[in-house]
């Protein structure tokens, strides 16, 4: 029999992942602005502090000059005046220090707050994304974006932005002074400016791609490490260490190459800018000499003009010096904000609400495909009376788990209608629906936390007694008590001290404790031995009693007692009925059932 079922999410080919998945400049800035806007007061304060501390710094040399002016020679120092100036200086320097400090404090608070907000928003956004997003991305890459890319932004902003701010004021101030002194000379000085700017623009534009590649390669490296370490047991079992290291070397080399290019091309900016500013100085002094010869300029003016021109170039050179930091932060921002641009699960038109559900579920002409033109579920019709137990059997890939996915609204079906208590689930908030189901999956998932916290995940209000009762019912109590700290032992998905079957028992206990109105058990006991399964059967029966339950299982012993058994093949219902009637039919179910007793 041809299996025509497509591969879930296959539309996300590797090509998509290789795509940089980032967004353009304007969008980055507008995103950043949204966050910065929240701190308008602090930003204004910072600007104020910057201006004041800079002004104070500008005044101080003048006072120093005056102080020195009180010393007319040996025995002719005016100590009274000197003392006053010294006092004034002390005041100036002290307040300048205080303002600089305040400006630093404000800036750090803004930066960290912004970074925190971005992190929170990105993570919150991820929580709202549809399953297909998770199917198609590399975990390591997302980790890299949330944890390290944002860290990059943070270290750039906290110090470099202030430098740039200060620089901006200095540049503007110097330019004003230069124009005041001599507009013609300023024009000469500025001849070079366009060249400088064009050069800087060209370089930044050129290196932007390189930095993007660099950040992307960081993500790729991260994804590689995450994947290989997660699969470490397999790596070892297949002696794949060398190949894995080889693969790492390759990604690492690519990172090295892209990092080198990005950093190198950005590092040439500063020396070249420096050279250009020296060149413009030469032009200014040559032309200035000419003006002096013509008597149109005096020596003092040109001296101060040159001093200001030096001040003008200073911050520009400094910015050029840290352009690599700024650019990698910018590329990092692109990657981070890209996540925010991914569309979340479409909001439902929540016209209806599920209160206390009875649990009557209806499937009406359901069609579904993960990728266009590859139907996984075709014309699926089923009526599930409230409180009945439905078992879904069929070959692997027949669409059983897909049915569970649709029930939970993890994916939206293409055509048809699923109704709970006669309400179309399209009109119900997906969270509302999910709350109705207790789901036990084949893949266990435990998070880093105590056993107690993990068990309580389905219902936080559960008392310790209820949790322990649930664990006992799932036959998990005994082995939990043998863990080093019992229910307070910290476990995670990586824990070696529990077997796969024991982890599965914990997830069953978690569902028991959650006590939901309806149940979906997707191969819930596949790694549990049959004796234990029998032991917990009583608890499962109790849990399922009077509740609509969907049971997906290969072990036919666990589904014999279901009210209705549906046999799926190629996304359709092939047979439907209870155990006895299906056996009498001598069809697919009959063959499936008998194969479990067959000998090799």
């Amino acid at each position: 029999m041809a299996n025509t079922f497509g591969i879930k999410g296959a539309s996300f080919s590797k090509g998509d992942v290789v795509d940089f998945k980032s967004i353009d400049k304007v969008k980055v800035l507008s995103h950043l602005w949204v966050y910065a806007k929240r701190h308008t007061v602090r930003i204004v304060l910072v600007l104020l502090f910057v201006v004041v501390s800079n002004l104070l710094a500008l005044v101080a040399p003048v006072v120093t000059g005056k102080a020195i002016g009180t010393m007319e020679g040996a025995g002719k120092v005016n100590f009274d005046a000197l003392f006053q100036y010294v006092l004034l200086l002390g005041f100036l320097y002290l307040s300048s220090a205080v303002f600089t400090w305040l400006q630093n404090v404000c800036m750090i608070q803004i930066t960290q707050r912004v970074v925190f907000d971005i992190r929170t928003d990105v993570f919150n956004h991820i929580e709202s994304l549809p399953m297909s997003f998770f199917d198609s991305t590399y975990k390591g890459d997302i980790i890299s974006r949330i944890c390290y890319d944002i860290d990059n932004i943070s270290s750039c902003f906290s110090t470099d932005i202030v430098h740039m701010l200060t620089g901006f004021i200095t540049v503007a101030g110097s330019l004003t002074m230069m124009i005041l002194i001599n507009p013609t000379l300023t024009l000469i000085f500025c001849i070079i400016v366009p060249v400088t700017f064009i050069f800087a623009r060209k370089i930044t534009k050129f290196t932007r791609k390189l930095f993007r590649t660099q950040q992307y390669k960081y993500g790729e490296l991260n994804a590689y490490v995450e994947e290989m370490l997660t699969g470490q047991q397999t790596v070892k079992a297949y002696c794949y260490e060398d190949t894995s290291v080889e693969g790492f070397h390759k990604v690492n080399k690519e990172l090295n190459d892209s990092g080198y290019l990005a950093q190198f091309y950005s590092s040439i900016v500063m020396p070249i800018m420096n050279f250009l500013s020296n060149l413009s100085f030469l032009m200014v002094s040559s032309f200035g000499a000419l003006l002096i010869l013509q008597g149109r300029l005096d020596i003092e003016s040109i001296s101060s003009f040159i001093l200001y021109s030096k001040k003008f170039s200073g911050p520009i050179n400094e910015t050029a010096n840290i352009i690599n930091v700024i650019q990698s932060a910018f590329s990092a921002s692109e990657r981070v904000f890209y996540i925010l641009e991914v569309k979340p699960e479409a909001r439902d038109n929540e016209t209806e609400h599920l209160g206390n559900v009875d649990g009557a579920v209806e499937f009406h002409d359901i069609f579904f495909s993960y990728v266009p033109d590859k139907e996984v579920i075709t014309n699926f019709n089923l009526k599930v009376p409230k409180g009945s137990h439905i078992a879904i059997v069929g070959h692997t890939g027949a669409g059983k788990t897909t049915m569970a996915n649709l029930l939970m609204k993890f994916y939206n079906y293409d055509k048809g209608e699923i109704r709970i208590d006669r309400k179309d689930i399209q009109n119900i908030d997906r969270q509302d629906i999910r709350e109705q189901y207790g789901m036990v999956l084949q893949d266990t998932w435990l998070f880093e936390g105590t056993v107690m916290e993990n068990l309580r995940y389905g219902r936080f209000e559960a008392t310790d007694e209820e949790v322990i009762a649930g664990a006992k019912a799932a036959d998990a109590h005994d082995f939990i008590m043998k863990l080093p700290k019992g229910y307070q032992t910290v476990i995670s998905e990586e824990s070696t001290s529990m077997s796969q079957g024991q982890k599965q028992l914990l997830t069953i206990a978690r569902a028991l404790i959650a006590d939901p109105p309806m149940l979906i058990l997707d191969e819930a006991t596949s790694s549990v031995d049959t004796i234990t399964e029998n032991k917990i059967q009583a608890a499962m029966d109790l849990l399922m009693k009077g509740r609509t339950s969907f049971i997906i299982a290969h072990r036919l012993s666990t589904i014999r007692n279901a009210d209705t058994i549906i046999v799926m093949e190629n996304g359709k219902i092939m047979e439907q009925g209870n155990h006895e009637t299906l056996l009498q039919k001598k069809g697919t179910y009959y063959n499936l059932y008998n194969s479990q007793f067959a000998d090799v």
């Binding site: 205080v98 490490v225 010096n321 692997t396 049959t530 001598k586 008998n594």
Partner: protein
């Protein structure tokens, strides 16, 4: 203090390059410092007197010098980039290689999330420090020392002020380093903890959505993100004081120089011009400190990161290949054996295996069955030497696994692990993990045995179909069968299947077992399973309970003398088989 450890070793090959690069950068900076002097000549002697000759002469000199300066700086930057990038590459390669030598115990101890942070973010911190040292930070001590030296030469007596200042400067630096060091250590740990939540949310997304726990997870993330912010704020607040404080100290020196200078001038010991020059040098020193807080934060953070990197290297695998491994000589008829093996997982208080003994002859099939948590998978972990037993010996082909080369051992055994892990890449690439040079026929053969052939043939791109990470685009059974194909294609004499048909329906499972028997029946097979029907025809069956052997023999023998086996049997075969 900062331990250089392995990080130091990785820097060592570049020390010469770093010195060269730094001195080039200093040369470039000196040129920058010389230019103002030429400027003053051009203005004072050239422009002021309209002396075009001087302007041209010194102008040309200046042009040449600044070209030279630009060239030297460019070169210095290029070296700095090259060195820091190459250092980071070496460091990461070294770390990854070392991590690959970890046994599972070490991996769990440091945790995957933390290792990810260390290999990327921590290395980046050190790398950035190295680059910034060469590109910017070298200027600071050079300018500070140069300025002090010039000041001292100019007027040793006034320089007493600088000497008085020194201990204060030292105190400020010492205080900052001391206070920020633990905070930065904390910051990296907090980043680890943040990584954990993100990783868990990406892995467990289905469960989180199913339980509707997004808000709870958001709060968990927010809390950890807040911890990161608090560390950053803590360090930032301390560093915020450094710049203004050092500036204030230097400016106090300026005031002192003005005051005492005034006294000296009054006494006739000094000219005002000298005071001016002296103040210029002080300003030069002060300017060199502009980057000081950045230097501090980068140094301390890189120091914390360096220690974390060193930790990775200092953790060595408890499981090593012996120095003089024995060769697998296939001399024994017994393929596998456990001899009175005891084992407790690191960190656990209770043993997972107690006095376990069994064996299986070559070419035969051993089945292992027993209740959840009885130690079945642990036996596999000891056979493949993921862990070493505390007591007793594990032998493969009659040889103690501890005496065999790790690679030789693991090449001799092909395992289908209980938890199916596939990697991003094509189906063919995944199957070829078993045998990198497997031919198309071998792939087909393996997928036929694994009952995967039809499925793959019906995919548009067949064996070249791409799987995403964790192969989420396949069903559980499909994944499991690819991992079986991967194990089958591996040319190993021993095939272990750890509960590897749990996601398969009975019919597929049956065909799988028939195919294994018919096509690779010469291999020694170890099957761990829950289903009696899967194992009852094995040559030997090992029944485990609570880490102990409770039965070992054939199906018939066990039905007779093993109560647990009987119990398992009746739990599954309770119903009367329907014979058609």
């Amino acid at each position: 203090m900062l331990r250089f450890g392995r990080v130091g070793e990785y820097i060592r090959p570049y020390v010469f390059g770093i010195l060269i690069s730094a001195s080039m950068k200093i040369t470039g900076s000196l040129v920058d410092l010389a230019l103002p002097y030429i400027t003053s000549i051009i203005i004072d002697d050239g422009v002021a007197y309209g002396n075009v000759d001087i302007i041209v002469k010194y102008g040309l000199l200046m042009l040449v010098l600044s070209l030279f300066g630009a060239a030297v700086t460019l070169r210095a930057h290029r070296n700095a980039v090259r060195i820091s990038q190459d250092f980071a590459r070496d460091m990461r390669n070294g770390m990854f290689e070392h991590i690959q030598s970890y046994s599972l115990g070490e991996l769990e101890k440091i945790s995957t999330s933390s290792l990810i942070t260390r290999i990327t973010n921590d290395v980046q911190q050190v790398q950035q420090l190295i680059m910034m040292t060469m590109r910017m930070f070298v200027r600071t001590p050079v300018l500070a020392l140069g300025g002090s030296l010039m000041a001292f030469i100019l007027d040793p007596k006034l320089s007493v002020i600088l000497l008085v200042l020194l201990p204060f400067l030292y105190l400020v630096m010492n205080y900052t380093l001391k206070r920020t060091k633990p905070i930065y250590k904390r910051l990296q740990i907090n980043l680890d903890r943040l990584t954990v939540v993100v990783r868990e949310n990406l892995t467990g997304v289905k469960v989180i959505k199913a339980f509707g726990r997004q808000e709870y997870e958001k709060e968990r993330f927010r809390q950890r993100s807040k911890d990161v912010m608090d560390s950053e704020l803590g360090a930032g607040m301390i560093l915020a004081v450094v710049n203004p404080l050092i500036a204030l100290l230097m400016n106090i020196a300026v005031i002192a120089v003005v005051w005492f200078g005034g006294i000296r001038v009054n006494a006739g010991g000094m000219q005002t011009g000298q005071i001016l020059a002296y103040l210029n040098y002080l300003t030069m020193i002060l300017n060199s400190f502009t980057n000081i807080s950045k230097i501090f934060s980068m140094c301390t953070r890189a120091g914390a990161s360096g220690n974390r990197i060193n930790e990775v290297f200092e953790t060595t695998s408890s499981i090593q290949s012996p120095e003089h491994p024995e060769k697998l000589d296939h001399g024994s008829d017994i393929a596998l054996a456990f001899d009175h093996v005891d084992f407790t997982y690191p960190g656990d208080s209770l043993p997972s295996l107690q006095d376990v003994s069994f064996f299986i002859e070559r070419g035969k099939t051993l089945a292992i069955i027993g209740p959840t948590g009885c130690g079945k998978s642990t036996i596999v972990s000891l056979l493949t030497r993921f862990y070493d037993p505390d007591q007793g010996t594990v032998t493969v082909e009659g040889q103690n696994v501890k005496n065999l080369d790790l690679k030789a051992l693991r090449s001799a055994i092909s395992v289908v692990l209980q938890k199916t892990i596939l990697f991003s890449g094509t189906i063919a690439e995944n199957i070829r993990w078993g045998k990198p040079d497997a031919t198309q026929e071998e792939l087909v053969n393996a997928t036929q045995i694994a009952q995967m052939y039809d499925f793959i043939e019906n995919l548009p791109e067949k064996y070249e179909t791409r799987l995403s990470q964790g192969a989420v685009n396949l069903s559980g059974g499909q994944k499991q069968r690819i991992s079986i194909a991967r194990a089958v294609v591996k040319p190993a004499d021993i095939l272990i299947m750890d509960d590897s048909s749990s996601a398969l329906d009975f019919a597929t499972d049956l065909r799988l077992r028939q195919a294994i028997k018919a096509r690779i029946g010469h291999r020694t097979v170890v099957i761990i399973a829950q289903r009696i029907s899967t194992i009852m025809n094995a040559d030997r069956i090992l029944v485990m309970n609570k880490g102990k052997v409770v039965g070992f023999g054939s199906h018939e023998q066990l039905l007779e003398n093993c109560e647990i086996y009987r119990e398992i049997y009746s739990s599954q075969m309770g119903g009367v088989p329907v014979n058609g």
